[in-house]
Amino acid sequence: MVLCIIALPVFAILGIFSLKYRKLAKDSLECIFKTATFKKCESGLDDRIKSSISGIFMRFSPKAAGAVYKNYKIISWIILAVFIWSIYGASAGIYNYIQYGNCNGPSDTGFCLLDPTGAHSGISALEDNSSAIPVLPALEANDPIIGNKNAELTIIEFGCYACPYTKKAEPIVKEVLDYYEGKVNLQFKTMIIPRHNMSYQAALSAECAIEQGKYLEYHNLLFEEQESLSHLEFEYLAEKAGMNVSKFMACLNSEKYKQEVENDTSQGYAARVSGTPTFFISGQRITGPKPFRTFKTIINEELKK
């Protein structure tokens, strides 16, 4: 009876395409029904499966075949448990993918069969700091806010101007802020990713833009020109953003906001950020450039609170 429980959905699906499996699905159903009502399973499907499997083992080892035959019930229960667990895992994976863009949830960047290219899970990874106890990041008065300052909810983003995944998340972030205009804003904290050239310098330059009130313009320009970041480029972008270039360059060259940038990075480490981009919406975490629906699900939950 045990394997009939597994066989029924499998054969029922295959039965859509083939008459042979329709008959087997019917046998499975009969077997389950008869056993549940304490009657003899006349179709013998369970026995047929048992014998077929044992026969296959016979080709390689009669001893193994005998063991399978004799312990079939125990093996069946194990297979059933694995089957149920797999169904649960697959359902949870599908649910997570639909809700969060990754089979394993919003904060996971592991492999997802439904997202084989990792489009929603790419991050610029940091060194493993998983042993630390996470400390949720806090809003900082001196860091600028993107969006309505009086919004109910603030997303804290740990990003890097030189990180391609952070750049990939930018249009999604804009879509979120537009959709929740007035209700949700964002504070961008820079994480220094050592393997990205110009990660630290770009972060410093953005801090210098705050000084001149041109943060948002400059922030957007940095992402637009991510592939060509250099000192010369910072100078050019500062000019393009309408800043006093000499003042901007003096600020940048003096590493005036080194402490600010290091503080942001430290906060990221403290929060156990595994890579950029990572978003915190109240207590919930989104890792990687997850799709809009992921943000929507979590924001809606938080706004209801």
């Binding site: 016979m58 075949a65 035959y69």
Partner: protein, 402 residues
């Protein structure tokens, strides 16, 4: 005996034997040689038409081929005349024809053995509604025929003795000649169910002196849905028609009809011409191989299987231990295992096709409260190697699964 060089040549004639399998379900269905298949295709490709109705040359050709088949079958069972050969769909239909065409009186008795196929049991049980009683002859402990019990079962009321020749349950052949002689002494008619005998031994209806002999084409290399009822002409002529309609009458008005002569009198409706022609070809093929050789070869293979497997106390055999008494059938059970499971394991492990269950002899199994058996049945195209592989696999099951 079929020598290995013959076997290789023979096996090439059977398209199914080119597949990686060991076919040991011959008591249920034999494989078909390409000669039979080609002969059937010849009808469909070259002269598809009705026999006995139209007058064009194609119809004439069909009639000629059907007549040739009829003569071939008459020759095959050694009947006096081709008109004693009635084409049916199978053995079951042949037996039903007899059951429905004999004039029965309330109180008449039909004597049968205790291991009849449902084909030779149910028609007689059905006659119970007309007051006809089926008397069952109990076999010996080893399932061989008990002649004393048979003699005791006969009485003045015995109208018919309907007996299996070779049992599909265990391969045991009954002493049909003695049965017919004793039955005739009591003025009873004799019907022989030869479905399992005709494919494996020389049949001589004159020598056996049976009144009827029914068999199927599908067990003797012939097409499915073909069969024959042999009947003594003088008896068939007196019998009522069974299924009537097209081809069974010479003439009809709105109120009466004149029945056809033999054999058409019993062959209602359009016949399976391709099947009948194919069946004739099957007879030619079997004759060419030789029925004595076939019988010896089956016994030789059964010897290999029996001698190997009867050593195991966990294997129980249905029928006598002597392989020579069981033709090509080895019907068995493995202690602690359902026979269906045994067959399935054999199929899964080495693609050995055997049959499992009650083999349509439910009455025998029910009487003994046995679920059924696994049955290996060999034929002349099977090899000694196949018999050895089968024995090896069964031995492995016995050792590993108990």
């Amino acid at each position: 005996m079929i020598f290995s060089h013959d076997a290789v040549k023979i096996r090439k004639d059977f398209p199914m034997l080119s597949k990686p399998l060991i076919y040991f379900d011959n008591a249920c269905m034999s494989l078909k040689p390409k000669q039979v298949i080609d002969k059937m295709n010849e009808y469909y490709n070259d002269y598809t038409a009705c026999a006995g109705r139209s007058s064009h040359r194609l119809a004439g050709k069909v009639e000629e081929e059907v007549d040739k088949s009829r003569m071939e079958l008459a020759y095959f069972v050694n009947s006096k005349s081709a008109s004693e050969i009635i084409f049916t769909r199978n053995t079951t239909e042949g037996i039903n024809l007899v059951a429905n065409s004999i004039e029965w009186k309330r109180g008449d008795e039909v004597v049968i053995s205790d291991k009849e196929h449902n084909s030779n049991l149910i028609p007689w049980l059905k006659l119970g509604k007309k007051g006809v009683k089926a008397v069952v002859v109990k076999s010996n402990a080893d399932n061989t025929f008990n002649l004393d019990n048979f003699i005791k079962s006969l009485s003045k009321k015995t109208k018919l003795v309907s007996m299996v020749y070779t049992s599909n349950l265990d391969g045991v052949s009954n002493p049909m000649k003695d049965i017919a002689r004793i039955a005739h002494e009591k003025n009873a008619l004799v019907l022989c169910d030869a479905a399992q005998a005709v494919p494996s031994m020389e049949i001589d209806v004159k020598g056996l002196d049976v009144d009827f002999l029914a068999f199927s084409g599908h067990k003797m290399l012939g097409p499915t849905g073909t069969g024959v009822l042999y009947g003594k002409k003088e008896i068939l002529e007196k019998m009522e028609q069974f299924i009537v309609g097209g081809e069974t009458v010479i003439d009809s008005t709105y109120s009466r009809y004149t029945a056809e002569e033999l054999p058409m009198k019993f062959e209602a409706g359009l016949q399976d011409y391709a099947g009948i022609i194919g069946l004739g070809e099957a007879c030619r093929y079997l004759k060419k191989v030789g029925m004595k050789k076939i019988s010896k070869h089956e016994t030789k293979l059964n010897r290999i299987i029996t001698e190997r497997l009867m050593k195991h106390k966990n294997i129980s055999l249905i029928g006598p231990a002597d392989y020579e008494k069981r033709n090509g059938i080895f019907s068995f059970n493995i202690k602690g295992m359902n026979p269906h499971n045994v067959s399935k394991v054999l199929e899964s492990s080495k693609s050995i096709m055997t049959r499992s269950g009650a083999h349509c002899v439910h009455s025998w199994f029910n009487d003994r409260k046995i679920d059924g058996s696994a049955r290996a049945s060999v034929y002349f195209y099977n090899t000694e190697e196949e018999a050895t592989v089968f024995a090896d696999e069964v031995e492995k099951i016995v050792k590993a699964f108990n």
